[in-house]
Amino acid sequence: MKIINWAIVGVLILLPFYVINRADTATQRRMMITELRYDAALDTAVDDAARALLINVNEQQEARYESAKRVRVNKEEAIDTFYRTLYMNFGVAEDPIAQGVLNRYIPAVIVIGYDGFWVYAEEEFTNAAGETEMRPVWGPKKPYAYADAQGNSLSFTLDDYVIAYEAGSRTWQEGFRSEIQSSIPLLHNAELFEQVRRSRIVNAIQNELAYRINRHNQYASRNGISYTFTLPTISEEGWNNTVNDIGVMAFVQGIPMGRKTYNNYALGGSRVLKKPIILGAVKDGRKVYYRNTCAFPYPVEETFASEKAAAQKGYMPLSCSNHP
């Protein structure tokens, strides 16, 4: 046998392996790119929704002075924004049928508010025509509630603010933990209070989500989706971020993707941060700027949104620590 024949035999043996390997690599690559695109779509949708939570049409319901986190959330605007961004990034903004298919893979969206949370999930109800309709609807507001063995009850919030019922005196009190005069033992231990508060909020959200996702399985199977939706394992860090501020959490599960299915969840927070105001003033005939938190007595000439803007107008920085 000539050497060229051996070479041909060798190539014939190896070629299938190389072809399979190459096809697998290409599939894997496509899957990873698709997964990245879906991740980005979900993250963006949740971030947009979290931002929309703060859209407020009622001036009376702006953030209150007691706490920066105490904001009336606009959950309707948030959910509209979530779906709008998601449909756009999945390329189905103009296709209601594809949107319906995509909805089947979203078992629940949760809005975490200051003193309770809401779940947006599919439910059945009787519509105006008397027919049974199934579509995502809002559940009731669920408070972060707690009761101790003595019959006292607390409703937690995302910070120290509580609504407390004291069983002994049969009275209700509301305010920050340190300000409430009560015999409820939990209110006298800041560390334990924080631990219980966090675990109660996380447990309440987990239980409700697990229930809603389980129910979604029944609805999904009627729509031809043979996929078992489950509450995914979320890291402790993830849950800690959840209970730090108002936000939106969404789950997407079971989208067929190559040989596997796409599962992910995303959390978007809408932390309210107030930017400091920069004041431009005149000190001994010299133009200076400083933050409004500095208690300088100099006559204020202008206010600016940033230090850069003040400097561009010829003001010199004046640090609080420079004040005699």
């Binding site: 190389y18 439910e123 009731p140 009275t171 489950t230 509450l231 995914p232």
Partner: protein, 127 residues
């Protein structure tokens, strides 16, 4: 150069190419397969549904949750019924009959909805 010598040189060159190509090809194949395995394993580890959380909510709520729902009834803005007792949205917190609610018990909630799906009433029944 004789034909024999030319053949020898050709064969040597062919052998050299083969000896270099065979391990290189094998290495390429092995590293490709290893990369695929790694990608598959990492994808599997990130597949959150492979590791579902052990929590299985049954939809019931605690008595504390029922009480605090009634305490915030003005904000919730709808009627709440607990074991047949109706609480109107205008109810003041101080007027809640707390003794009628088992704080450490469990309640099964059900929701009455309007024709467009909005919540009309929350009903809690003892379990």
């Amino acid at each position: 150069m004789s034909h024999f010598v030319r053949t020898m040189i050709d064969m040597s060159f062919a052998c050299l190419i083969f000896v270099m190509a065979a391990p290189a090809g094998l290495l390429l194949f092995q590293s490709g397969a290893a990369a695929l395995d790694t990608a598959y394993v990492s994808g599997k580890a990130q597949d959150r549904n492979v590791m579902p959380t052990p929590i299985t909510g049954d939809g019931s709520v605690s008595g504390a949750e029922v009480l605090q729902t009634i305490a915030q009834i003005g904000e919730i803005g709808m009627e709440v019924v607990v074991d047949g007792t109706r609480y109107a949205p205008s109810l003041e917190r101080e007027d809640i009959a707390v003794s009628a609610i088992r704080l450490n018990g469990r309640y099964a909630p059900s929701y009455e909805r309007g024709p467009d799906g909005q919540l009309k009433q929350i009903v809690f029944v003892s379990r």
